[in-house]
């Protein structure tokens, strides 16, 4: 299928029929749940969490039925559009919005609703004793609804609504325990960094309006090829800014680690499986724009490559189990971004890795939550160790996730991550060597820090504090972990059977010819396995065989840098915050004092008027008036000169 036929097919998406026509219920059901729980007040305390969970599952079942009906149709007729709601009828800008149900969006729907529902179930146990459990479930439902809106939207604007919605829900959930000031600050940071991305998104949307006169995917995709590569590069970079903020990619990665302050199920759902991958979704969804702008595409790949190393390095030094997992998430999304930046050859693998990662990372986060549950909410891995005996189910499920993220065959990660490494080695000139090399190196570091995390937590000597009595978590928590562990084990194998998943996505991501990496595939697999084995073995030596100190040693300069997130906060502060503060201070100064000073120096010139103004003696009113006068003179003078 060539590109133009593909675009034509996209432009003529059929109106939905059958079960697909009810796709709006996918969003409606969890939204209803959030509404009932928030408005229902205390009356819903007793059963609210069950309702929220049931509605989330209902959404999953509906998504499954829609997917089945889609599989039943031919590849050309799978995409369907739902609704068409004239949101803002402003003149010729008829802002029509609707839903687009295609292969890409249903893949996300299934991931979001399935993992989301499992996490609802898990939260029933995890949040059992929290007085605000009802509010928590309301936010969870709200998040699921917003995330589904994000992936089902048929235009950038509606996507942006979902984008803001998930941001809001994540904000509310990170700061859920807002009685703790540190957590509230974390919520704050997440929001402000995301504002940077939102600015990129808003300008991108305005830019699309200016260029294409419309913001729906069909129009933008159809027009991208003709719009010129400069315009598309600008647009692509703006979208990348948005994607970087949402997906915690370099240089907007700083918030993700702090966001771990939220309850662990939230970290699993939002900051591992779904929301943080929205940036990857955005890039893949905008594939036509990036295909028309090779430079922007390269920027995506570079951002991905930098972040995958960045996250991996930071992950090596973190002792907080959740922060280590967060760094790992950042790194894995870096892989996805890298894949998305490779063009048609990588899009499908980016999404594939996104799906498998959603399972194994969510599973590991839930595992971490289970460990914390049994260890009095401690997170310092230096005080764990030897938990494999006390928490057998958690250990086993976590182990599957660990094997998956390492990319050990036949577990899920092998099928998705190794494909990205292979794809990164495709191309000409320096690119395959640099990008592929980084991806390969990243695999080795990943093996080290994930093994470190796994060994420090579950193996080696017990370094527990005196007051803990580790115990296995209740079934509501372990069952979701087991289900996700099955996914971590098998999903990759199943989905890659005969290239099933990639060919399923092909109508959306575009096809590509047969291309070969610069090194033979078996060599690449061999190299990857070698590095992974080396990384894991080194971790084994340091963190299983040898004694792990209970207090972190000072470490080398590199370790200290990594522990401090490679000084991201200091850099952010120096680069962005201080100039901003200075600018505002300077402006305030001008307004308060400078204008007054101007009165003095201009007094002679303005003569009579100034002295009359001074006689009025009302504090600052004279300077206000002078500002006005200066403004008038300036405007008039400038216009006079120009005409």
């Amino acid at each position: 299928m060539n590109a133009s036929a593909l675009l034509a097919a996209e432009a003529e998406v059929a109106a939905a029929t059958g079960i697909t026509a009810y796709a709006w219920l996918l969003i409606g059901l969890p939204l209803l749940g959030a509404g009932i729980l928030l408005l229902g007040g205390k009356a819903t305390n007793a059963w609210g969490h069950y309702l929220a969970t049931a509605l989330s599952w209902a959404s999953f079942v509906l998504g499954l039925l829609i997917t089945l009906s889609m599989i039943g149709r031919g590849a050309e007729e799978r995409a369907m559009s739902v609704g068409g709601w004239n949101w803002v009828p402003a003149g010729q800008f008829q802002l029509e919005t609707g839903l687009l149900v295609d292969q890409l969006s249903v893949s996300f729907v299934l991931l979001i609703t399935f993992v989301g529902s499992l996490i609802h179930v898990y939260s029933i146990g995890y949040m059992e004793h929290d007085p605000d459990r009802r509010r928590f479930f309301a936010y969870l439902n709200l998040f699921v609804a917003a995330m589904l809106l994000l992936v089902l939207a048929d235009s950038y604007l509606l996507l942006f609504v979902g984008w803001e919605g998930v941001g809001l829900a994540s904000y509310l959930l990170i700061g859920f325990w807002n009685h703790n000031p540190a957590y509230a600050t974390a919520a704050n940071k997440a929001f402000f960094v995301n504002r940077v991305g939102d600015v990129g998104m808003s300008i991108a949307i305005m830019f699309m309006f200016a260029t294409f006169g419309s913001v729906d995917f069909a129009t933008v995709n159809a027009g991208a090829a003709e719009a010129g590569s400069t315009a598309m590069t600008v647009l692509g970079l703006l979208l990348l800014v948005g994607a970087c903020a949402k997906s915690a990619q370099f240089p907007l990665q700083s918030w993700l680690g702090d966001a771990m302050a939220g309850p662990t199920p939230v970290s699993a759902l939002i900051h591992a499986a779904t929301m943080v991958t929205a940036g990857v979704y955005l890039i893949v969804r905008s594939n036509a724009v990036f295909d028309a702008a090779p430079n922007a595409q390269l920027a995506v790949a570079i951002v991905g490559a930098i972040t995958l190393l960045y996250g991996a390095i930071v992950g090596c030094a973190k002792d907080d189990i959740k922060k280590a997992l967060a760094a790992s998430t950042m790194s894995q999304i870096g892989y996805m971004m890298l894949a998305a930046g490779l063009g048609p050859v990588g899009y499908a693998f980016a999404i594939f890795h996104l799906i498998t990662h959603g399972f194994f990372k969510a599973g590991m986060f839930l595992g971490a939550g289970s460990v914390m549950h049994g260890m009095n909410d401690q997170v310092d891995m230096r005080r764990f160790g030897g938990l494999s005996g006390a928490m057998k189910i958690t250990w086993a499920t976590f182990a599957l996730g660990w094997l998956a993220i390492l990319g050990v065959p036949p577990f899920s990660g092998f099928w998705s991550k190794d494909k990205i490494i292979e794809a990164a080695f495709i191309g000409e000139g320096w690119r395959p060597w640099v990008l592929g090399g980084i991806a390969l190196l990243g695999a080795g570091i990943t093996a080290f820090y994930m093994s470190r995390l796994f060994f420090m937590t579950f193996h080696g000597k017990k370094r527990w504090t005196d007051d803990v009595h580790p115990h296995e978590s209740p079934l509501t928590m372990t069952i979701p972990m087991m289900v996700l562990a099955v996914g971590s084990g098998l999903l990759g194998l199943v989905l890659s059977w005969g290239g099933m998943f990639t060919s399923w996505l092909e109508p959306v991501t575009g096809g590509h010819g047969e291309e070969h990496p610069v090194l033979p595939v078996p060599v690449l697999i061999g190299l990857t396995m070698l590095l992974v084995a080396a990384g894991a073995a080194y971790a084994w030596m340091l963190y299983w065989r040898d004694e792990v100190p209970q207090v972190a040693p000072r470490g080398s300069l590199a370790t200290q840098a990594a522990r401090a997130d490679l000084y991201q906060d200091a850099i952010n502060e120096g680069l962005f915050m201080r100039p901003g503060t200075h600018l505002t201070r300077a402006l305030v100064f001008t307004d308060g004092k400078g204008v007054d000073g101007l009165v003095g120096s201009l007094a002679a010139t303005v003569g009579g008027l100034s002295s009359r103004l001074r006689r009025i003696q009302t504090g600052y009113a004279r300077s206000y008036a002078l500002t006005m006068l200066t403004g008038v003179v300036a405007v008039l003078g400038a216009l006079w000169v120009m005409n």
Binding site: A90, F191, S202, G619, Y620, L639
Partner: protein, 542 residues
């Protein structure tokens, strides 16, 4: 019409100048001009109510005066609204010797103004269980803190003349958006401004601040009026008439004799109007006046004055001097950019919630100017929609500000709002929603309004339009930072002292706040009907 006004407000300093202008209309000095009474009936009702209000002030017993004044004002506004909707819509015309025009935009804005008026009066009538309106001083003329003031308070005096004053201002605003010549526009400007100067100085608490604000507002207002008047004189000299239509004709005919008068004339009249909307560098009065005025008056002023001024600005720019826009457009575009940037950036460091909202209103004026400069019908409807959305949210926001108290007076320092969300979840929640709307977050009216104002600028504004929109988006990001900081403060920060509390509003205030909140949500989710209406009535009658 004008004659009636002159007798109603004999103190207008600039009116003698207008006599010379009047003579240009043949026979207008003595022969009565035909007036389409049904078209101007809403204005007559409002001014009539105001005059009756003056009598009430003189003759009604003190005990019932508050109730009577509030009831009268509301009845007048509602009656005017009903007449507007039921009668005036069918009778659109240029009337009163060409000085008043009742057309689509005028009706839309008059209707909105009347709605703002109702909400404004409702919030001003708040008593919190006391004897008189809580926001107003018992005796405006007494020296702050003097025995006379205390005695007036003990005796239960009340400044219930605030309500007739509001009605006079409302009358001026109604006329402002419908005036078809520069003299009428100037008279309307003064009629709306003078009562507002007085109202600004009537705050019950922090009297000195309030009086200072009032004086500053008055002085600077007079200053800007002078600019407007000077500009009008130049335009009269250029066109030989103060009528907007005649000026437009003169510009298109362009015989070249007095070409030099046109640009300064246009710029100076625009400056007079840009002052009222609070555009930089004519904004300096805004923070002081907003902070010093009684809070409900601030809300009313922010919503209604801004709408009226933009109404007049639209008419002047689209009907009167549209033909020369290529010459002055860039100047106003620069003002718009400055307004957005300065308003947004200065709001960052504000520590007083009223000053913060004032700077935010400055930034909003910039956003609206972007729509004005689109030069298209969709721009007109976008601006009108923006004004409705912003006004309704603003009145509600200031009403909320007036509820949050510390030791009897308003807790306007931001630090006092810390942790409000925990103790008063409803008040903080509503305020947060309104802030989200100001920030332009999707699914609130602020988003659709920004969209409606910015989209035409991108489509018809050329490069300048695109640049303004980009600046606008960046500026809204800055203001969003400010608003989110307040939300964070209310929800995630430990309270500083425990004496800050939100009072329970009366039914009247509750209604005003509720209307604002519902409008903010509804205009965000289904803006269609209102946008449709604004789009249908966006054609000016020439």
């Amino acid at each position: 019409m004008t004659a009636a006004l002159m007798s109603a407000l004999p103190a207008l300093p600039a009116l003698p100048a207008s006599v010379g202008f009047e003579t240009t209309v043949p026979g207008a000095a003595f022969a009565p001009v035909p007036v389409a009474y049904s078209a101007v009936a809403p204005m007559l009702i409002v001014v009539g109510t105001a005059l009756v209000g003056v009598l009430v002030e003189a003759f009604a017993p003190r005990a019932v005066r508050h109730t009577v004044q509030v009831g009268l004002a509301l009845a007048g506004l509602v009656a005017a609204f009903l007449v507007l909707v039921l009668v005036s819509v069918d009778d659109q015309a240029v009337t009163a010797g060409g000085s008043i025009v009742i057309d689509g935009p005028a009706l839309f804005m008059q209707g909105t103004l009347l709605l703002f008026g109702v909400l404004g009066v409702l919030t001003m009538s708040e008593r919190f269980g006391g004897r008189s309106a809580d926001a107003f001083t018992p005796m405006g003329a007494a020296t702050p803190g003097s025995p006379a003031e205390a005695a007036a308070d003990r005796a239960g005096f009340a400044t219930s003349e605030a309500f007739p004053l509001t009605m006079f201002a409302m009358f001026g605003m109604l006329m402002f958006v419908a005036s078809n010549d520069l003299i009428t526009m100037f008279v309307a400007l003064e009629i709306l401004s003078l009562p507002l100067y007085v109202l600004t100085g009537l705050a019950r608490r922090r009297r000195l601040l309030s009086q200072e604000a009032s004086l500053k507002y008055f002085l600077l207002g007079a200053f800007s009026s002078a600019f407007f008047l000077f500009g009008a004189a130049l335009l009269y000299g250029y066109a030989g008439s103060s009528d907007l239509g005649a000026i437009a004709q003169a510009i298109s005919a362009s015989n070249g004799d007095l070409e030099g008068l046109l640009l300064p004339g246009v710029v100076l009249t625009l400056v007079g109007l840009l002052f009222k909307v609070g555009a930089v560098p004519f904004h300096s009065w805004t923070p002081d006046a907003y902070q010093g005025a009684p809070t409900p008056v601030t809300g009313f002023m922010a919503a209604a004055t801004k709408l009226a001024a933009f109404g007049a600005l639209l008419r002047l720019a689209y009907v009167g001097v549209e033909g020369s826009r290529l010459e002055w457009r860039l100047g106003v575009a620069t003002v718009a950019v400055l307004t957005m940037v300065v308003g947004a950036v200065l709001s960052v460091t504000q520590t007083d919630v009223k000053r913060l909202l004032a700077y935010s209103s400055v930034a909003h004026a910039g956003f609206i100017l972007v729509g004005v400069l689109a030069y298209d019908r969709t721009g007109v409807s976008g601006v009108m929609f923006y004004l409705v959305a912003y006004g309704l949210a603003t009145i509600a926001a200031f009403a909320i500000v007036s509820l949050v108290r510390s030791g009897g007076s308003e807790a306007t320092h931001l630090s006092q709002w810390a942790g409000l969300g925990r103790r008063h979840p409803v008040v903080a929640g509503i305020f947060a929603l309104l802030l989200l709307a100001f920030a332009g977050i999707p699914l609130t009216s602020g988003f659709t309004a920004k969209f409606a104002a910015f989209a035409p600028a991108v489509a018809h504004g050329g490069l300048a339009g695109v640049v303004m929109v980009v600046v606008g988006v960046l500026a809204s990001a800055v203001t969003a930072f400010v608003y989110f900081r307040i939300i964070v403060l209310m929800y995630f920060t430990e309270p500083t002292g425990d004496d800050v509390a939100a009072l329970t509003p009366s039914v009247a205030s509750t209604v005003a706040i509720t209307v604002g909140v519902i409008a903010t949500v509804v205009l965000g989710i289904v803006p269609g009907p209102v946008l449709d209406l604004a789009g249908r009535v966006s054609q000016f009658l020439q």
